[in-house]
């Protein structure tokens, strides 16, 4: 039994936690075919296997949709990628060199993985613009934050990003006062300000009106290409409207993967998921 198994990482002081630093600290290397490699990942909570021997690859610039019934492990998958949950076994690499299982949440975010949460979590007491300022890629140290004012270029970049998500008119409004759909977009804008290579988008259209859903679909499609985008969503119609490649999760592992058309006609998928929801 290793030290890791003896001490759960949230029960010991930081310095005692093994492996919270990257093995080879360095730049993202996207020389390979894929940008994200997840191999043989298993995560269990109290005996329940949230992820079971899961293997998944994401290509650069790809828009990938992850679907699956409740409890299929979709959120756990995102937690593993962002460093919130450590896998029991398996490897998870971002590019060729960055071992995500040995990096902290902060290091992973800085390396270029941005996450939009299921529940929109913006900073409610800050304006829309300030939310973007906080999210902006750049030095995140305390002294830089104290002494470096926002430059003209950074301001323009923020305004431009707000325009992309259609929130420029609301730039000085407190984020807490935005509508639910607007909060979702603001959060996407915040993730974009991190200049991510890989965007994880968790249920982006929950609580949106039909018009807002259409705009979100356009937005996500326009983001793919420059970024790799991974979308977790329940709404089949929405998936159909944006999907290129779909991965179906079931009981913690990949059940099927491929074009939406093929996946939809896969008998296994129909049985566990599409059949149930009609």
């Amino acid at each position: 039994m290793s030290l890791r198994d003896t001490f759960r990482r949230d029960q010991v002081f930081g310095p005692l936690r093994p492996g919270t630093r990257p093995v080879r600290p360095g730049q993202l290397d996207t020389g390979g075919k894929h940008i994200l490699y997840m191999e043989d990942i298993t995560v269990s909570f109290e005996g329940f296997k949230a992820l079971n021997d899961l293997t998944l690859y994401i290509e650069p610039g790809e828009l990938r949709c992850i679907i699956g019934p409740n409890g299929a492990g979709k959120s756990t998958l995102m937690d593993v990628i962002t460093g919130k949950t450590r896998p029991d076994t398996g490897s998870c690499y971002f590019g060729q060199t960055l071992d995500l299982t040995r990096m902290t949440e902060t290091e992973i975010a800085t390396a270029g993985i941005g996450r939009k949460f299921q529940k929109p979590t913006v900073f409610p007491e800050h304006t829309a613009l300030e939310n973007l300022e906080l999210a902006m890629a750049g030095p995140k140290g305390t002294w830089q934050a104290l002494l470096q004012p926002v430059t003209r270029q950074q301001y323009d970049w923020m305004a431009q990003t707000l325009e992309t998500v259609g929130l420029l008119a609301q730039k000085d409004q407190l984020a807490g006062a935005l509508s639910h759909g607007q909060k979702q977009w603001l959060e996407i804008a915040m993730v974009l300000m991190q200049k991510p290579r890989l965007l994880l988008v968790d249920e982006p259209i929950a609580g949106m009106t039909r018009h807002e859903v259409e705009r979100t679909a356009e937005l996500l499609q326009s983001l793919a290409g420059d970024h790799s985008v991974m979308v977790v969503e329940h709404d089949m119609e929405f998936i159909r409207s944006i999907a290129n490649t779909v991965t179906v999760l079931h009981q913690g592992s990949v059940l099927a993967e491929g074009k939406m058309q093929d996946v939809q006609n896969d008998p296994k998928v129909i049985e566990v998921y599409l059949g149930e929801t009609g």
Binding site: T106, P124, T142
Partner: protein, 381 residues
């Protein structure tokens, strides 16, 4: 995008109003004390001068707590410890100034050490005969303690009630330690019988007025500094940590560094408040470490209103004025009044007096609160 620098923090309307009222009041009190003869009805007694000076020290302490509690959401129930440590550093300097004028007339040792039959000055008392060294210690000792304590606590992600409890334990442990005679800080009597500061007698009216002005300057400086900090991206990040810490972490912020930064700055301000407090009240003893003091401090900030800075100052002055009046009339009921005040403020005025004033002004301007206003009333923990 607003990124305040020291100039804007000094010259915007809130700062001008605050500094105007502060220095106006201090100037009037100083002049009425020094220039108006004692027989006149307009004369302000030296007792009042020192009382006001004491309030300003409390206000500075409340401001320091507002930085960590109001802006960063860290409810420290042990901030009195940093105040007391700053006070002890100043007290040690004042003790060394007594020289051979003590009761036992020992040229080197303070009275309590002679009483304990100590032969020589403990090593950690060396240097405190220098004012400059003592002033460095006033900032350094609370700062280093806050840094080490915060480093351990924030790295291990201790938050919320648990953090409040260990800050309380910290100040309690220090109180027990300082009660012990062999620690060399005067045991339960503490440090007292001070004679003079920088060669000026502490009994002189002019010295008391000078200390009052020094307290006002320190409060004004801390206010401008805090407004500057909270107006920069650092300040906005600290508030983001308060509202959604894990979100800030996913954005790439080492949130523990931000908490540690603001906690340490706050502890240093608390230490400075303690150092100015001691010469004005003439004593520092382990009672200042009492957890009760730290809890009272939380009540001041809650009454005034969190995350506005001036709210903390208003709260500290009002509650302490109330305490002075109340303890004069019926001292045994003060703690009940304080407890009742805290409950009342928590239940009826979650944003304190400043929040009440703001919402009254808002209601005057727009009678019907809109739905989006209600959603905006987010309550930081």
């Amino acid at each position: 995008m607003r990124h305040s620098d020291l100039t804007t923090a000094l010259t915007d309307r809130t700062a001008k109003t605050f500094l105007g009222i502060l220095f106006g009041a201090v100037l009037i009190v100083a002049l009425l004390n020094l220039l108006v003869p004692a027989e006149s009805g307009l004369h302000v007694s030296s007792y009042t001068v020192s009382l006001l000076g004491k309030y300003l020290c409390y206000a500075l302490l409340a401001l320091a707590l507002d930085l960590v509690w109001g802006y960063c959401g860290i409810l420290s129930l042990g901030h009195g410890a940093f105040f007391a440590l700053g006070g002890y550093a100043m007290g040690m300097y004042l003790m060394r100034q007594i020289g051979d004028r003590g009761v036992y007339g020992h040229p080197e040792l303070p009275d309590f050490m002679v009483f304990l039959n100590w032969e020589e000055l403990p090593w950690y008392w060396h240097g405190f005969d220098s004012f400059g060294f003592a002033m460095i210690m006033v900032a350094l000792v609370p700062g280093v303690l806050a840094f080490v304590f915060g480093w351990l606590a924030f790295r291990s992600r201790v938050t919320g009630v648990y953090l409040s409890i260990i800050t309380q334990a910290l100040t309690y442990a220090l109180m027990l330690a300082f009660f012990r005679n062999e620690l060399g800080f005067g045991g339960n009597n503490g440090l007292t019988d001070f004679k003079d500061i920088l060669g000026f007698s502490l009994r002189e009216d002019s010295t008391r007025v000078a200390l009052l002005i020094a307290s006002a300057l320190a409060l004004a400086g801390a206010f401008v500094l805090s407004r500057w900090i909270t107006g920069t991206r650092l300040g906005r990040t600290v508030m983001a940590v308060r509202d959604a810490e894990s979100r800030a972490r996913f954005l790439g912020y080492r949130t523990e560094h931000y908490k540690l930064w603001i906690f340490t700055v706050s502890a240093i301000l608390a230490g400075i408040a303690g150092a100015l407090y001691v010469p004005q009240v003439g004593i520092i003893n382990p009672g200042e470490f009492s957890p009760l003091n730290s809890i009272e401090l939380v009540v001041w900030v809650a009454v005034g209103g969190r995350a506005t800075l001036y709210g903390a100052v208003i709260g500290a002055i009002l509650v302490n004025y109330g305490k002075t009046v109340f303890t004069g009339v019926m001292p045994e009921a003060w703690l009940f009044a304080l407890g009742g005040l805290f409950v009342a403020v928590t239940v009826f005025l979650p944003q304190g007096l400043v929040g009440l004033a703001k919402s009254l002004l808002k209601r005057k301007r727009q009678p019907e609160p809109t739905l989006s206003d209600k959603e905006a009333d987010h309550e930081p923990a």
